[in-house]
């Protein structure tokens, strides 16, 4: 008999509209949106610990808020224990909230400074009318505090009187006092000292065992995720790029981004050296993600169909100039005109010549760059370079594919390398 999953996210999307200028809004022009979460499908079984791992801008925090329905969905559905939460009004949602709670990142800011610990931890009981009167409420608060390892001595204290670790334990007490099924933990230990982290994680494991909790553990730290989670979902720019059982992901990471993340984790082992084949560049703008695979501009193993476009050409020029002395930059910069046009994503890029240079000069510059580093993955996506009077037209391949999650031996990976390994 298959058990119903506790939490199901089905192709959820959250797009935050960008506020354009006044005129743009008057003209009704669509100024684009930040695709914080762009099509994520996940499910959590009871008792499972799912780790959502990503850097800032990956959408992991928004995903946590999607699960708790504290952020409006642009599309997709959220189901909690079979109940569709998507269209529910806030007033219908509130009674359900006692079954899904949250632990926040900053212990210094997640407790109300105007409430004592007893009041704060007992407040959920008041809200959901789960205790008959003050005495019973205080008894249950004392019980919850004991369970998280805080004595009843803190009951009359205010949050500012407690240490970071103690505050986080109070937050956990507040979260579990109503007996929830699901706990969304958003970076619960990243602001705590090393010597305290283990204690909180251990507490969270104890709570899971004793209270039958299910966790959605959001973090950027793959090391704690490895220890704590059963399943891992790696997020990049609003999408899940790798998803599967934790042991498999750590033993054999398949997506180049996952591999990079794992390599980058510092180890307290002086034998290891620093250079680690880091992916170049940074997380791109979520309002205008790269064409094709959103990781391709940084991917060391990108190839023909990964989505090459004009902005990659701008990046190439920048990379080239970073490695040259300033004088070379100045001479070469004069050859190329305005680069702003390259910011419009397209598979055909026009690079205008600057000053008295011609299209041929620009082509020569590109050839110089190519000769210096012919293995740069960008060149695999270039179909044709054509001088055109005062400019050069660079044609990229237009058969790029935005990879969905391919199933590769029990792990789902959004990378074109695995397109042929299995049926989609």
């Amino acid at each position: 008999m298959s058990e119903r999953p506790l939490l199901e996210l089905d192709d959820v999307r959250v797009h935050f509209g960008l506020r354009g200028s006044f005129l743009q809004r008057m003209a009704g022009r669509d100024v684009g949106s930040v695709k914080a979460v762009d099509g994520v499908t996940l499910s959590l079984r009871r008792g499972e610990v799912l780790g959502v791992v990503g850097e800032s801008g990956s959408g992991k925090t928004t995903l946590g808020r999607i699960a708790l329905r504290t952020v409006p969905l642009t599309s997709g559905t959220v189901r909690f224990d079979g109940t569709d939460l998507t269209g529910l009004r806030e007033s219908r949602l509130r009674p359900l909230r006692r079954r899904m709670q949250m632990v926040f990142q900053d212990p210094n800011a997640s407790l109300n400074p105007a409430m004592t610990i007893a009041q704060a931890v007992g407040h959920p009981l008041q809200i959901h009318k789960l205790a008959m009167g003050k005495t019973e409420r205080e008894a249950r608060v004392a019980e919850a505090l004991e369970r998280v390892g805080l004595g009843t001595g803190v009951m009359a204290k205010y949050p500012s009187d407690l240490s970071g670790g103690q505050k986080q334990r109070a937050v956990l007490a507040r979260a579990v006092i109503c007996g929830p099924d699901l706990l969304v933990a958003d970076e619960p230990v990243s602001m705590l000292d090393m010597s305290v982290r283990a204690r909180i994680l251990e507490l969270m494991l104890d709570l899971k065992r004793d209270l039958g909790l299910t966790y959605l553990y959001i973090t950027h730290d793959l090391a704690t995720a490895k220890f704590f989670c059963d399943t891992i979902a790696i997020m990049y720019l609003g999408r899940v790029v790798e998803y599967g059982p934790a042991e498999q992901i750590y033993a054999d990471p398949r997506h180049p981004y996952t591999q990079a993340l794992l390599r980058a984790i510092p180890e307290p082992d002086p034998g290891r050296a620093v250079p680690r084949d880091l992916p170049r560049g940074e997380v791109p703008d979520a309002a205008l993600p790269p064409l094709g695979c959103s990781f391709h501009p940084r991917c060391p193993v990108a190839f023909e169909q990964c989505g090459w476009e004009s902005r990659d050409l701008a990046d190439l020029l920048e990379r080239h100039w970073v490695s040259r002395p300033a004088e070379t930059y100045e001479t070469e910069r004069a050859v190329v005109g305005e680069l702003d046009e390259l910011e419009q994503p397209a598979t055909t890029a026009t690079l205008a010549a600057g000053g008295r240079a011609t299209g041929k000069d620009v082509e020569d510059l590109l050839e110089t760059i190519r000769r210096e580093n012919p293995t740069d993955p960008l060149w695999r996506g270039v179909r044709n370079i054509r001088p055109d009077g005062e400019a050069v037209t660079v044609e990229f391949r237009d058969d790029h594919v935005d990879p969905p999650l391919y199933d590769v031996g029990g792990v789902k990976v959004a990378c074109l390398k695995y397109r042929d390994d299995t049926a989609e």
């Binding site: 850097e55 800032s56 708790l68 504290t70 007033s91 509130r94 009674p95 909230r97 006692r98 709670q101 926040f104 990142q105 800011a109 997640s110 407790l111 109300n112 400074p113 105007a114 409430m115 407040h123 809200i127 959901h128 205010y158 240490s163 507040r174 000292d193 090393m194 010597s195 982290r197 283990a198 204690r199 251990e202 950027h220 730290d221 793959l222 090391a223 704690t224 220890f227 993340l261 794992l262 980058a264 984790i265 510092p266 180890e267 307290p268 082992d269 002086p270 050296a273 620093v274 880091l278 940074e282 997380v283 920048e318 990379r319 100039w321 970073v322 040259r324 002395p325 300033a326 930059y329």
Partner: protein, 632 residues
């Protein structure tokens, strides 16, 4: 309510001048409140009484035994009018304040919390009211109301209310806007609390402290406004009640004729009451606003002798910077915080020394103490030898010249360290021109571009503003800014803590290159042992203001000699962690650290002597000193 009492507690703990001013303010206000409340009992005569027992009082008579402050042109007793005027003022102001708060605060709460079209409309109305000249507004309202309900206390109060409502609205709304985004408010919602509970217990409870300050300052202002209205003849109807402003307007003619008492005493009354209220308001503000609370620490209060002298490591090679027994203490409300309490270390040329420790160990204070960037209430003692001079004793002018070309610093939060109004090119120009003014424009540009290129920032972005860069790029720009002047020694205080792991790795890579190519010495402060292991040559482990162990990274990490180092390493979670370990207890309070060895309450290897005496520093060989009784 308990929260309000807690917020007010520091008010009464004030000492010195602030305390004096507070009590002066309270006394002045109390005098007038007493006069107001007991006016019928205290005032010798009625407010418009010009005769007694059928005998009219003398007109414009100088102060005498029957009329202590003299009489007016209408034969009213000045003293009585002062007392009845106090009652009028207090009544009007109390009523006006009450109404303003009752209307302005809830509107501000609701507007700030819900936002949307409601907020936009209310803010529009509010801003219009504020933009309108307030006295004119009060006059208009007073006129309108006088026609319908007469010119009594209520009219004056309503007129004043209308001009003060917008202030409460604005102050409360702004407080709500900042509190609304706090995680604890979101927590309230996630718990399932309905909006009215969230607003009342999570938002209002945390903005309420701004109201008493505003109220007392408004009260002072309201007295003046009321006086102004009455002076202009549009305030209280003279037949309804006495008012100081009205008396002053009548007193002007008297003054020209030499009758000074009719205008002076009402004027004095206004001055005294307004001063009293203002003093109370400002004292409230000073105590409630945490930014204004600071306590200076004096050099004399730091005892001459510190703890046991800390041994510097025996290392070969030239040291760029030598620190011996550095102490940094600073003042707080509860006493001196012994943040750094006797630290000795060396950083050699081209070496990266990692200073690692948890929150409260003093590592950030150490960084700032080395460079003389401490806040006003801090005191330093000890030796920081750089370039043959002791930086601790150097006057601040000379330190300023060293900072930049010789001493560099990279801070923790790159988001806030660049001037948002200056392009990156301008930042570099400023740095270079301040310290090397003889450079030409081209040279400035070339050096800047090269420094940036070394950090991986492309020259095409040289003219961009800071907001156009991500956090990681901003930190690299800051490092480039620090290095462009070629300092020999750089202090990096948790430069990667706020950044993602890939960005952090990039920056570590860059720092390793810098160290290699330019022979720069770097003091790298962090709480992350993994970074220290990979990027640093030597490590110093700090606990409660002391360096408990330092030495070559390979030695310290492979075989830690201090129990704290050992436990810290064991509790670090890495990809290879199989079991969770942590250290019991929490870091000590640096106001009153534990006796003897500061780690003893949490040490798994604690012995009897550990709580009695501070352990001496012992050199274990190879530049590896340890402060622990286990090695003595």
């Amino acid at each position: 309510m308990r929260g309000l009492r807690r917020a007010l507690a520091p008010l009464f703990a004030a000492r010195g001048l602030p305390r004096v001013l507070l009590w002066v303010g309270i006394s002045l206000t109390a005098v007038f409140v007493i006069l107001a409340v007991f006016a019928p009992l205290i005032a010798p005569y009625g407010f418009d009484q010009y005769a007694a027992d059928g005998v009219r009082f003398p007109q414009q008579a100088a102060p005498s035994i029957h009329h202590l402050l003299g009489t007016t042109v209408q034969s009213d007793d000045v003293l009585s009018r002062i007392i009845w005027g106090a009652r009028t003022s207090i009544e009007v102001v109390l009523l006006a304040l009450l109404l303003s708060i009752v209307v302005g605060v809830p509107l501000g709460l609701v507007s700030g919390y819900f936002g949307g079209w409601l907020d936009r409309i209310l803010v529009l109305i509010n801003d219009s009211l504020i933009a309108f000249p307030y006295l004119l507004l009060a006059i208009v309202i007073a006129f309108l109301l006088q026609g319908s309900i007469g010119g009594g206390v209520a009219t004056a109060a309503f007129a004043i209310t209308v001009i003060y409502i917008p202030q409460y609205f604005r102050v409360v709304r702004n407080s709500v806007l900042s509190v609304r985004e706090e995680p604890y408010v979101e927590a309230g919602r996630v718990l399932g609390a309905p909006p009215r509970t969230v607003i009342r217990r999570y938002v209002f409870a945390n903005v309420v402290q701004s109201v008493p300050v505003l109220a007392s300052l408004n009260a002072a202002d309201a007295i003046l406004t009321l006086a102004a209205l009455s002076f202009l003849g549009i305030g209280i109807d003279p037949s309804a009640a006495a008012e100081w402003g009205y008396d002053i307007s009548r007193g002007i003619d008297d003054a020209q004729a030499g009758y000074w008492w009719t205008g002076l005493f009402p004027g004095l009354a206004i001055i005294l009451l307004v001063t009293g209220l203002t003093l109370v308001g400002e004292s409230l503000n000073d105590s409630i606003n945490p930014l204004l609370r600071q306590r200076r620490f004096t050099a004399m209060a730091m005892p001459k002798a510190g703890l046991e002298p800390a041994l510097a490591p025996e290392t070969a090679g030239t040291s760029v910077i030598k620190v011996r027994d550095l102490r940094v203490w600073y003042g707080s409300e509860r006493g001196p915080v012994q943040a750094v309490d006797g630290v000795s270390l060396d950083v050699r040329q081209g070496e990266m020394l990692g200073v690692v420790g948890e929150s409260g160990c003093g590592k950030s204070t150490l960084a700032r103490g080395l460079l003389g960037l401490l806040p006003a209430g801090a005191v330093r003692d000890g030796l920081v030898e750089f370039d043959g001079r002791n930086l601790v004793e150097l006057p601040s002018e000379e330190m300023r010249w060293l900072r930049g070309p010789s001493l560099g610093m990279v801070f923790q939060e790159p988001m806030t360290r660049l001037d948002p109004l200056m392009r990156v090119s301008a930042h570099f120009a400023e740095a270079l021109r301040t310290h090397e003014p003889e450079l030409s424009d081209t040279e400035v540009r070339r050096r800047s571009l090269d420094a940036l290129a070394g950090m991986g920032i492309p020259p095409t972005r040289f003219g961009n503003y800071p907001y156009e860069f991500s956090g990681g790029m901003r930190q690299r720009i800051l490092i480039a800014l620090t290095l462009v002047l070629g300092p020999k020694f750089v202090v990096a205080d948790e430069p990667t803590t706020a950044l993602d792991v890939l960005v952090e790795a990039q920056i570590l890579e860059i720092l390793a290159d810098v160290k290699r190519n330019f022979d720069t010495s770097i003091l790298f402060i962090t709480h992350n042992l993994g970074i220290v292991a990979e990027a640093c040559d030597r490590v110093a482990v700090m606990y409660a203001g002391r360096v408990v162990e330092q030495g070559p990274v390979s030695a310290v990490f492979a075989d830690p000699q201090h129990p704290y180092t050992r436990e810290l390493l064991a509790s670090t979670i890495s990809l290879r962690t199989t079991g969770l370990r942590y250290i019991e207890g929490s870091p000590p309070d640096l106001l009153s650290p534990p006796s003897g060895c500061r780690f003893h309450p949490r040490c798994p290897d604690v012995m009897a002597v550990c709580s009695e005496r501070f352990p001496p520093s012992v050199e274990l060989g190879g530049g590896h000193p340890v402060e622990c009784w286990l090695h003595v």
